[in-house]
Every structure is written in structure tokens, then in C-alpha cells.
């Protein structure tokens, strides 16, 4: 243990000292967190922790040790309890094991689909709880639940159409009452309905905005602009994939992608103008075709609705056939949603986009366009035609949505069966050339987003629609999982999963959620609720509930502020005008900030490149110098590689470090030359300037010795003014110097020799300092003082017969460090005494 400890200390002494100092200042929880985040092995973590603990306890008095122990034990217990709770809750997480399995077999892009599915399921569960709790339960409790008229019975077809029997249940808007239940507190059904729906929509919006913004920040703002960069591909390797076959497939795909990324550049340059024209022609044609298809689908749905409109009549009881006829529209819509995307994929095969990403985006955009145009037409029909035709129109819209949800579900299942199962059979048995189908993440995600949009639109018309949605997503999860594991292979191109995820959330928000929200808002603001059913009967529009409520509140004098807020904030144009103005100004300011940052980034990049040039220049110089004195090369090489490796490790933090290191290397070389001269007894200096410098060094040393008494005060906290480079240089040199000392003393431990070597080195160092940097004399004298202080400390340590940990520390305020070391030593002593 002791041995390994020493090894550790030698390996990273400075950082460790700093780290421990940092840790001591933190609270226990913070400390644990910090230690956990260190990228080192457990052994080292434990070591750091014991050091920090020893340091901490040495600073405290021993009076309250038992109390402290107690509190520490308590906090340990509490923490453990917390961890256990956390892990238990983790183990209870829905589908945790399945998710890991899917991630392990198919990678993170497929996993994204399931994560999104689960997320939407949670949305629906929340929505169901809220609606059921605040709207349905009060209705059921107050016994105002609607009576099913006697001539309506459950036929089973309702499960598909949602009409008939269901029309009289709490499923739809129509069955809810507009009364205020008198009980312990008055419960106004109108207000409850309005606020539940609006709060749910607002919460959904907020959650979406936040998750979208955070994933944008993470995946777009910070992500690399280059679309197909090699590193992106290399870093996207999924370590979680454990399936041997999947791994081999991944390797193949990665190789293909790498080759493509290499050929892409060449390909782009080679294209002639006529080829480009042809390319653009194909783009134009396929965009025209796909847009035409989408618009055509919308138009045909519109005519279909009109046709059905003429057929249907507002009757209490429909015959079974009539009821089944209502399934025509949802059937056609779902069929379009299933078949038309196949054409889009076909177009996509002909267009050759330069990058995979563009291709996926084009496909996605067309599919979204299709779904939006169909949904838009349906909504237009519901908002304009249905209210005029039926006396109780909201449940009709609710029923239409119910049918869409159900039929969509059936088509999703069929899609899984035919799309995945059959093509698997074809791919394996009949036409092996086609191969096993891939799991098309984009198409599947779009399907569930569309399904969720239906539920969002329907929330106003049918508050319990989330129940159907929960069932649908739940079954879909298992269905897709089974279909995936049995029929599909992982997608061939899987890069950029995180960005795709962002796109999906964005899609979920922008056309779909925003569309659903605006439709619900339009219904509440502008449409007249039906006069004979539903909670808002007799009102001009749904929103006027608020106005009536405020009138009520106005009668009570104690709640005037609510009225004030309503009058001056919600209903005043000037308020919104001001808010808009302020937001515009803020946007402008942030935009300017971003521009500034961009310029800064460009400048910093240039600076880094310049630093790199500096480094290579200095390295070259070093190599030239090495060549000029080949006889020391052998010795030199060994040391240089050693040092350069160390420096490589250290310089990882900051670029400028490495420059200093190179400079140090130069200095070291000179110093070693000098040393060699001294050792071999050639005391006659080869050139005048060196000996001159040496003289100066000696003088400086004498001066330093004279100031020896106040050495501690001089260095303590007040280093002489010098520029940062020189300072770090000095610190570095000292570090290297002490390093050298250890290697020397290893062979030669007797004190006089050691001190003479130190002297020679000091003078050499001084010499070089004057040569290359003409640093002011305070610098070097301070340095010597520091070294002497250090020597003293080390001698002291040796006297106490404890193996001195090789602290070749390099922090500028080293006297503080020495004190810290002494304190640590003391702490260790106490620690040992304890045993």
C-alpha cells in the first residue's frame, strides 16, 4: 500500500496537491461528487480522499471528534439511504431492461424511437390523470353523469366507430354538465373543464420547449458543422452493442460510410455543368410530384368529407351500416398515410443527394407535408362544416377523432405485419438479394408523432381520449419490440442519432403540437359551443367562461387583484405591445452577442494556430541544437523523451504550457552541457559570455545567501513583479530541476555532492535565464530563495526519516506549498500515531 501510494504521489504530485487543497474547502457531499468525477482509478480516488480527510482533520481540534464522527456516520447513512432509494426507483423504471436490450442490439438511433414512444406515453398518462381527476371524477361523484337513452345499446361496433353508445358516456364533451356542484366547496364544472384543458396544453408546450431548447443547445449549437467528418463517424461507434452479428454489420457500414466520405469530396469536384443541371431537374421534378401528391391527398380527403356530409344526417340512432360508413374517411386517411410515403421513398431513390442528411430531411419534410395537408383539411371541415350541421357538434368531432385514432392504430399494426414481417419473409426466403428490412426510424417516429397530434386535438372534444392513446402506445411498444427483434436489422446508416432526436422533438413541437394548440385555441376563442350539450352550453364562446368568472369574483372585495390582473394584463393590448417590444429588444441584444462571440472564436482559433507554429519552431531549434553536440546525444535522448512524455501529459490542459516546456528543454540542454563541463574538470569556459553569466550567478547566489534569514518572508505571498511567462518558466525549470535532483541523488546520496550539484545547477539556470530572457535579478534571486527554502524543507523531512514524497511542485507560491506539505506530513504523523 505504502509503495503504491508513493508511486502515485510521484506520478502526479502538483495536480494532486492542488486538488486536495480544493477538496478540503468543499462540503462532504460536494467532495464525494468531485472525487467521483475524477478520471482516475478507484485506488487513486481512495488515496485522494484519505489525504483530503487527513488534511481536514488536522486542521480541526480533537475536542469534538466523537460528535464529528457521529455526524459523519449519520450523513453517510442518509446518503446511502438516498442512493438505495434512487436505485430502487431506477429498477422500477418502465421498460428499463427492454430499453437496454434494444440499445445493445440496434444502437442508439433505434433506441431513440422507443425513448420517444415512452415519453409520449408518459405525456398521455399525465393527461389522463389530470382529465380524469379534475373533470370526470367530480362529474361521476356528483351523480350528474349522463343517462344513456333506453333505445341505445352496446353493439360492439362502437369500439371501432366511437359512436352510438359511447356518445352517452363521459368519453365525449357532450356528456359533461355545466352546473356548479354544491358541496364542501363549490365546484364549477365549466371552469374546471376550461382550466384543466388549458393547463394541460400549456404544460405540454413548456415541456416540449424546454426539451427542444436543451437538445438544440447540446446537439446543434455545440455540434460540428461539417456534415460527414471522419471523427464524427469514429466517435459514433456504439460501445453498447453486444451482438456479434450487429458488430460486424456496424463495421461494414462504418467502412462504407468512411469510404463514401472520402469519395464525396472528389465526386463533388468532378461533376460537370450538364450533370448538375440534370441533378437539379430531378430534384425539381420529385419535389413537384411529392408536393402535388400531398396537396392532392388533402383535396381528395376534402371531397370525401363533403360526400359523407351529404349522406349523413343528425339522428339519434344510426343503423349499424350507417355507423360503419363513418369509418370510410379514417380508413382512406390512414391508407394514404401508409401508401404515399412509399412513393416518397421511391422518389428518394432517384434523387442523389450529396449527403445522407439532406436525403433524410427531404424525405421527412415530404411526409410531414402530407400529414399536415390531410390534417389541415380535416380540421377545416370540423371547424367550419360540422358546427353548422349538428346541434351538438363537439361530440361529432370527438367521434371523428376517436375513429382516426383507432383506425390509425389498426394500420400501424398492419404496417408492422406487412411492412416488416412480410419483407423479412421475402428477404430471407424468396428474394435473398433484398435482405432483411431495416427499421426505418424516421417513418416510425413520424407515425407516433402523428398519432399524438390526433390525441392533442381531441383533448378538448373528448377528454378521455388519452385512455385510448395509452393503450395504443403500450401495445405499440411491445409490438414494435417484437417486430424489431424478429424481423429487422439495425439501420445501415446510424450516425447523428442525437441530431435526429432533436429534429424529432422539433417536429413534434412545431407543426404538430403548435397546430393542435392553435386548433384547440381557435375552437375555444371563436366557435360557438353547441347550445344543448356540453359544459359550455349557452355561451358565446368557451373563453367567455373567464369573463363570467371575473364578474363573479368582482362581487367579492377581497379578491380585487384578480380582477385587476384580468383587466390590465390579460385583456389589455398595451401590455402585450410592451412585452413584444421588450422581447424584440432582448432578441436583438442576444443576436449581437452571438455575432461578437463568433468573431472571438475566429480570433482564438488563429491564436491557437500561432501557438502551434511557435511550438514547432522551438522544437526545430531544439533539434538543431541537439545535432550540434552529438556526444551528449545518448544521455540527452533518454532524458528528453522522458521529459517530453511528461510534458505531453501535462500540456493536455493548456496549449501555452507546451511552449514553456520546449523552452525548458532548451534551458536544460544548456545546463547539462555546463554540467558536463564541470564534471569532467574542464573549468575553462569556452566563451566569455557564459563565464560572465556564471559570475553573475555566483554573485546572485551570495546575495541570496545573505538574504537567507528573511527568505520565508520574502517569498511568502509577495513574489517580485515579473511577467507571467517568466514566472511559469521559472516554476517549470525548478520542477525539472528537482526532478533531476531525484535522479541524481538516487545514485549519489551523500550531502556535499548533492549540494554542490545543486549549486552548479543553480548557477547554470541563472546563467541561462540571463542569456535568453534578460529577466530582472529579483526573478532569479527569488527563485534561488525558493529553492533554498525547499532544500531546507526537504532536509527536514529526511531528518525525520520519512520517505520524502517527491514533490517537484511547480506552483508559483511554493512557500505556501511547503507549508502545506509540512502540514500534511504532520497529519500523516498523527495518523500513524493513531495506530
Amino acid at each position: 500500500m505504502a509503495l503504491s501510494k508513493n508511486r502515485l504521489v510521484v506520478s502526479c504530485p502538483t495536480e494532486e496537491q492542488n486538488l486536495i487543497k480544493e477538496l478540503v474547502a468543499l462540503s462532504t457531499t460536494e467532495q464525494i461528487r468531485k472525487i467521483r468525477e475524477l478520471p482516475v482509478s478507484f485506488e487513486e480516488k481512495k488515496h485522494v480522499r484519505t489525504q483530503a480527510m487527513a488534511f481536514k482533520s488536522s486542521g480541526q481540534s480533537h475536542h469534538f471528534s466523537s460528535l464529528r464522527d457521529f455526524s459523519q456516520n449519520m450523513s453517510l447513512l442518509i446518503r446511502r439511504f438516498g442512493y438505495s432509494i434512487k436505485s430502487v426507483s431506477q429498477s422500477l423504471q418502465l421498460w428499463r431492461g427492454i430499453m437496454k436490450e434494444i440499445g445493445g442490439k440496434f444502437g442508439s438511433s433505434v433506441l431513440n424511437y422507443f425513448v420517444l414512444l415512452k415519453w409520449l406515453l408518459l405525456f398521455n398518462i399525465f393527461s389522463f390523470l389530470v382529465n380524469f381527476g379534475f373533470i370526470t371524477i367530480p362529474l361521476l361523484v356528483s351523480d350528474l353523469s349522463p343517462n344513456v337513452s333506453p333505445n341505445v345499446s352496446f353493439r360492439g361496433l362502437e369500439l371501432l366507430t366511437g359512436a352510438g353508445y359511447f356518445n352517452y358516456t363521459v368519453m365525449y364533451y357532450g356528456s359533461y354538465s355545466n352546473e356548479t356542484f354544491r358541496g364542501l366547496v363549490d365546484y364549477d364544472m365549466q371552469l374546471a373543464y376550461f382550466f384543466t384543458i388549458s393547463v394541460y396544453m400549456v404544460l405540454c408546450g413548456l415541456v416540449l420547449i424546454f426539451s427542444m431548447a436543451s437538445s438544440f443547445k447540446k446537439n446543434y449549437a455545440l455540434a460540428d458543422a461539417a456534415s460527414n467528418s471522419a471523427w464524427q463517424l469514429l466517435c459514433s461507434w456504439d460501445f453498447s452493442i453486444t451482438n456479434e452479428k450487429a458488430v460486424n454489420q456496424r463495421k461494414n457500414n462504418l467502412r462504407i460510410q468512411l469510404k463514401e466520405s472520402l469519395s464525396e469530396k472528389a465526386h463533388r469536384e468532378r461533376q460537370t455543368t450538364s450533370e448538375q443541371l440534370k441533378q437539379y431537374g430531378i430534384y425539381f421534378g420529385s419535389w413537384l410530384l411529392s408536393t402535388g401528391l400531398a396537396v392532392g391527398c388533402g383535396a381528395s380527403v376534402f371531397y370525401l368529407c363533403q360526400y359523407e356530409d351529404e349522406q349523413a344526417e343528425d339522428t339519434e340512432t344510426w343503423s349499424a351500416l350507417k355507423e360503419a360508413e363513418t369509418l370510410l374517411v379514417p380508413f382512406v386517411v390512414s391508407l394514404m398515410n401508409m401508401v404515399i410515403p412509399l412513393f416518397f421513398s421511391l422518389f428518394n431513390k432517384f434523387e442523389q443527394y450529396s449527403s445522407q442528411r439532406k436525403q433524410i430531411y427531404a424525405l421527412l419534410f415530404r411526409n410531414v407535408l402530407l400529414r399536415i395537408s390531410i390534417l389541415g383539411v380535416l380540421c377545416y371541415y370540423w371547424m367550419n362544416t360540422v358546427p353548422q350541421k349538428f346541434t351538438c357538434w363537439e361530440p361529432m368531432v370527438g367521434q371523428a377523432l376517436y375513429r382516426l385514432v383507432i383506425v390509425d392504430f389498426i394500420f400501424l399494426m398492419l404496417g408492422s405485419l406487412f411492412g416488416e414481417f412480410l419483407s423479412n419473409v421475402i428477404g430471407t426466403k424468396i428474394q435473398p438479394r433484398l435482405g432483411v428490412p431495416e427499421f426505418d426510424v424516421a417513418r416510425n417516429v413520424l407515425e407516433i408523432i402523428y398519432a399524438q397530434t390526433l390525441a392533442w386535438i381531441g383533448i378538448y372534444f373528448s377528454p378521455l381520449l388519452p385512455v385510448i392513446q395509452i393503450l395504443k402506445f403500450f401495445i405499440l411498444f411491445y409490438l414494435k419490440k417484437v417486430s424489431l427483434t424478429h424481423n429487422c436489422q439495425p439501420p445501415r446508416r446510424s450516425g447523428r442519432a442525437a441530431q435526429m432526436k432533436t429534429i424529432f422533438i422539433f417536429l413534434l413541437f412545431i407543426p404538430f403540437f403548435a397546430g393542435a394548440l392553435s386548433i384547440v385555441a381557435y375552437t375555444a376563442w371563436s366557435l360557438t359551443p353547441s347550445e344543448h350539450c356540453g359544459p359550455f352550453r349557452g355561451l358565446n364562446n368557451t373563453f367567455s367562461v373567464i369573463g363570467e368568472w371575473i364578474d363573479d369574483v368582482n362581487k367579492l372585495s377581497s379578491t380585487q387583484w384578480v380582477v385587476w390582473i384580468y383587466q390590465n394584463v390579460i385583456r389589455s393590448e398595451i401590455f402585450y405591445f410592451l412585452i413584444t417590444l421588450i422581447i424584440l429588444v432582448l432578441i436583438y441584444i442576444f443576436w449581437q452577442l452571438i455575432q461578437g462571440r463568433k468573431e472571438l472564436i475566429v480570433l482564438l482559433r488563429k491564436q491557437i494556430v500561432n501557438e502551434g507554429k511557435d511550438k514547432s519552431f522551438l522544437l526545430e531549434k531544439l533539434q538543431n541544437l541537439q545535432k550540434s553536440c552529438p556526444e551528449v546525444n545518448k544521455k540527452q535522448k533518454k532524458r528528453t523523451t522522458h521529459t517530453s512524455r511528461r510534458s505531453a501529459e501535462r500540456s493536455s490542459g493548456s496549449q501555452s504550457n507546451s511552449n514553456a516546456v520546449v523552452q525548458v528543454l532548451l534551458a536544460r540542454q544548456q545546463q547539462e552541457e555546463e554540467e558536463r563541463r564541470n564534471a569532467s574538470g574542464v573549468s575553462v569556459p569556452s566563451d566569455i559570455s557564459t563565464s560572465d553569466a556564471m559570475m553573475q550567478a555566483m554573485l546572485a547566489r551570495q546575495k541570496a545567501e545573505r538574504q537567507d534569514e528573511n527568505a520565508y518572508e520574502a517569498t511568502d505571498g509577495h513574489p517580485p513583479p515579473l511577467d507571467a511567462v517568466a514566472q511559469s518558466l521559472a516554476a517549470r525549470q525548478r520542477a525539472e530541476e528537482t526532478d533531476g535532483y531525484w535522479s541524481t541523488t538516487h545514485f549519489n546520496r551523500s550531502n556535499p555532492v548533492y549540494s554542490s550539484i545543486i549549486q552548479v545547477r543553480q548557477s547554470a539556470e541563472r546563467d541561462r535565464e540571463d542569456d535568453s530572457h534578460d529577466a530582472t535579478s529579483p526573478v532569479s534571486s527569488a527563485m534561488i530563495q525558493v529553492m533554498q527554502a525547499r532544500q531546507k524543507a526537504e532536509e527536514e523531512e529526511r531528518n525525520q526519516r520519512i520517505y520524502p514524497p517527491g514533490q517537484n511542485a511547480a506552483s508559483p507560491g511554493s512557500s505556501a506549498l511547503i507549508q502545506a506539505m509540512l502540514a500534511r506530513q504532520q497529519a500523516q504523523n498523527e495518523y500513524d500515531d493513531g495506530y
Partner: protein, 203 residues
Amino acid sequence: MGTTASQLAKDSLSEYQVNDHLLLENAHRRFTELLDRDERNHPNPRVPMEVILTLPELKSNPFKTRICQVFSTSEDKDGSLTFEDFLDLLSAFSDSATLEIKSHYAFRIFDFDDDGTLDYGDLEKLVNCLTGETEDTRLTSEEMRQLISNILDESDIDKDGTVNLSEFQHVISRSPDFVSSFALFLFYPVFPAPNDAVLHCFI
């Protein structure tokens, strides 16, 4: 019994390494399965690399030997793991590990010759690892040269011909897929038994 001794060790481990008790339990169970019967009584048993590599989670990973070597604290660098090393491995690959930790270990795994930088040789080995090592799957030397010069163009900011840790971390911070893909999970039992974890906090 040896299990009780390591049980104690396990308790002290938990909070400095993982805050996921379930992971700890699972890791401990899986680790003991790898040990021979007589080794279980050893206070701090070491599992040789060959045995570790039989874990289904690691078996087909192209970096399996590198992973063992990086996480091993063994003196003679044979890639053998103690339970602590094993837990280090799992926590670095777990969901809760930070980007800092993950990128650090990824760098060490990719640094095949352990010299502190990714140079041409390291990158070549990395690409070969990822595309398959056999003759027919390997990239041609011309492609490899082109690819590595692309890589260096992108990431070697100071133009010294190698990618160092800070440059690597810069690359990683700009590829959002990395955190989710640098992950390795122990297979959980179908019905995870939280009993042990629950018991622990009451004992």
C-alpha cells in the same frame, strides 16, 4: 467467507464510485461468477483478461483488450482486473459518468501505444479496429492516408501531427452522439431483484 469480506469492501466503494446501488449489486454478482471457487476466498481477487473477455457484454467489442488494459491496475500490465477495476470500468461506461470522464477513458483506449497522444499509428489501428482487421475489409493504404489526414485536419488544432487529449476532448464535445454511444451496460436480469439493495440500506 470471502464474499462477506468483499461485501464490506463493496459498501465502502459505493459512494466514491457509483451512486447506483443496482449497478454495484449486479457488478458484484457478475464478477463473483467469473471467479473460481477457491479464488472467492481471496481478499482481493484478480480476474485474468481472458476470463473477463468471455463476458457477453464485452465479447464482441472491437476494443475489448484495450478496455481491459486501460482499466487494469495490475503491475505487469496483463489486463487483469480486480473488482475495483471492474467497477471503475463499469462506472466510466455508465449513464451517470460525465463527458469529462468518458472522453478521458476513450482517449486512453484509443491511445494504443500509451504515449499520451494519438499519432498516425494509433489512428490507423483505431480505424482498423472499427472497420475490421481482415485483409479484404481493411481500407487501402491510400484511403487510410487520406482518412487520417482528414482526421488530423479536423482535430489537430496546433498542427503537430498528433491529436492530444485536449484536442480530442474538443472533438468529443462537438459530437453529441458520443455520450450515449460510449456506454456499456451489464445485462440486467429480466426482473431485477432490488431486495439486496433494499436490505443494505436498513442493515
